[in-house]
């Protein structure tokens, strides 16, 4: 995110150069820039702006794939608010987001801190934590279904060895979402790589200075490393939240799209997909998409606004 801000500023310099009168060369350049950007200008119109407007329109109609549908005004939205499964899917999605995202940040940062220490086997450890994030989500689901199987699964076997009788995991209402969070944490390796890059960016001088002041390891982490890592944490918090709200493949493949048991695995996008592509209620699903959009905008805005309180950019202090 810091990168985005600085790059927006860098732009002004080229823009200023442009203002100094229009020579033939500059007109040529301008045309050239437009032609180069043409694929994306078309892509924006065809795959973003047009669908955005159509989606808003469909959300006010009873559109199904089989028939054009008619204008129904706010009816889709009214029905949604009375739809029990809609609220369950909101609850499940927020539950997952608010537990998984903070956990993944704490877990990812702690791992990155450990991996940044000068210890033997560093390269091996780094590889180890990264590999699961390369595993396709569908494969992740199948592997963990097998591991968490209540009868033959490795996890309950290990728990048994410790004298704990393990739950039914994915099959139980209480444990299905925690199981999903566990599986999702398994794939957080990519964030660790980004944190590591952030850690390596922190100037050594700060540590040297703190050393002179007699700071211990924990104080250095608390007062130097973590504050300077906040821009990276901020980036991962935004991306993680947006991603978590759109959670789909893992719960969908785990439950064959059913969200079982007792809708405890019915996530927002799953319910949207079911309405649109199984029940063919495309208007209804479009209304859901807009509510999701709103949710993403609100949560992202809250995170952005909170930025001033806790994100430290180097050189801005």
């Amino acid at each position: 995110m810091a990168a985005i801000e600085t790059s927006l500023n860098e732009d002004t310099s080229t823009a200023i150069q442009l203002r100094r009168g229009k020579t033939r060369f500059e007109r040529k350049i301008s045309l050239f820039g437009m032609i180069f950007a043409l694929p994306w200008i078309l892509g924006l119109i065809l795959f973003n702006v047009y669908p955005l407007f159509m989606s808003a329109y469909y959300s006010f109609t009873s559109y199904s794939i089989l028939e054009k549908g008619s204008w129904v005004g706010l009816q889709n939205y009214q029905t949604l608010f009375k739809d029990e499964v809609f609220w369950i899917s909101i609850y499940n999605t927020l539950y997952f987001t608010f537990i998984y995202v903070p956990l993944s940040i704490v877990f990812g940062v702690s791992l990155a801190l450990l991996l940044n220490m000068k210890i033997r086997g560093q390269g091996f450890y780094r590889t180890l934590f990264f590999i699961p994030s390369l595993v396709p989500p569908v494969a992740t689901t199948i592997i963990w279904m097998w591991l968490l199987n209540p009868q033959y699964g490795l996890v309950n076997y290990w728990l048994g060895e410790l004298g704990i009788s393990g739950p039914a995991w994915i099959g139980s209402e209480a444990w299905s979402k925690p199981s999903l969070i566990l599986m999702s944490l398994w794939g957080t390796g990519q964030a660790v790589v980004i944190y590591l890059a952030g850690l390596q960016d922190i100037p050594q001088d700060y540590y040297d200075a703190s050393h002179v002041d007699g700071a211990n390891t924990w104080q250095r982490v608390r007062h130097i490393t973590l504050p300077l890592l906040t821009p990276v944490i901020f980036f991962n918090l935004i991306m993680g939240t947006i991603g978590a709200l759109q959670n789909f493949v893992l719960p969908f493949t785990l439950t064959n799209g059913q969200g079982t048991p007792a809708n405890s695995m019915m996530f927002y996008v799953m319910y949207l997909y079911t309405n649109g592509f199984s029940y063919l209620k495309m208007g209804y699903a479009s209304a859901m998409a807009w509510i999701l959009f709103l949710l993403v905008v609100v949560l992202t805005a809250v995170i952005f606004l909170s930025q001033k309180r806790w994100v430290h950019y180097q050189g801005k202090e």
Partner: protein, 278 residues
């Protein structure tokens, strides 16, 4: 953590301790997949679970390939992933170059819009795009799964733009004084310089298409069109008990990605760190 000499042995010992515990959590599902893929059918449900099969059943692999139309799925997946990768390699550097290095009026607003689109949930546009493709008669073909790539992907454009911004301005000035045309500056000077970034987006796109589930789920209806990921699902529901073949298939669809990743890892990491995402 900071290379200070006083970081004691105790600290390093406890670091190893935690890394080994968490490492076991990260590694064991993977090893368990490999182990299961080599077991005999009657060994699957032995209690206590066995890590190393009595006899290595390598035949699970050819059996799995014959159980589902593996090569057909593989071909379908490669076709989609290949075309989509070609698409982003064509469109994204062009756009990113225009946004980063061509001083034209539209560059700044276009970049701002690109950032906004990056935040927009896919589901908002999913249904109208589906309906449009349906009207074109392309639902049930793989066209919707690769065609949009030729029109640019916001995240890749952002990544490449950051990379282009980092290149010295003298490069193109020198070329312009020498009388090189804009297209030549792009094609012969700039593009070769951003090879690591291009490799990065190619890898991202290829892996994204290879592992994509939602796209094929929505657009492909006939089994002859299925990708490996969809094929896996059919395999799971029909032959839920054939865990050993399922795991063998998983090894075969996961290992190529890991191998490709490690082959291009260095360039990949350079591509990411250069782009200022860190």
């Amino acid at each position: 953590m900071d290379g200070s000499q006083s970081a004691g042995r105790m600290q390093k010992m406890s670091a190893h301790f935690f890394l080994i515990i968490v490492g076991a959590f990260f590694l064991s599902p993977f090893l368990w997949m490999l182990s299961t893929s080599l077991k005999a059918n009657n060994e699957l449900f032995v209690w206590p679970p066995k890590w190393i099969p009595d006899v290595m059943h390598w035949s699970n692999y050819p059996d799995a390939i014959n159980y589902i139309p593996f090569f057909m799925y593989l071909y379908n997946t490669l076709a989609i992933a290949g075309l989509a990768t070609l698409g982003v390699l064509f469109s994204c550097p062009l756009v990113a170059y225009s946004l980063a290095r061509v001083p034209w009026k539209g560059a700044k607003p276009l970049f701002a819009v690109t950032l906004m689109v990056m935040m927009m949930p896919y589901q908002v546009t999913m249904i109208p795009i589906f309906i449009a493709f349906k009207n074109f008669g392309w639902v049930g073909t793989n066209i919707p799964l690769w065609l949009p790539a030729f029109f640019g992907a916001p995240f890749f454009i952002f990544l490449l733009r950051q990379f282009f911004m980092g290149l010295p301005k003298e490069l193109e000035d020198a070329a312009r004084i020498d009388g090189a045309a804009e297209l030549r500056i792009y094609w012969q000077i700039m593009l070769p310089l951003c090879k690591p970034a291009l490799l990065t987006i190619a890898l991202f796109q290829f892996m994204g298409s290879w592992t994509d589930y939602q796209g094929p789920l929505i657009y492909l209806s006939e089994e002859s069109q299925y990708t490996l990921m969809l094929g896996m699902q059919a395999f799971k529901s029909q032959h839920g008990a054939e865990w050993q073949m399922m795991m063998a298939t998983l090894v075969m669809i996961t290992l190529p990605i890991i191998i490709i990743y490690f082959l291009v890892q260095k360039a990949f990491i350079r591509g990411i760190t250069f782009s200022g995402i860190k």
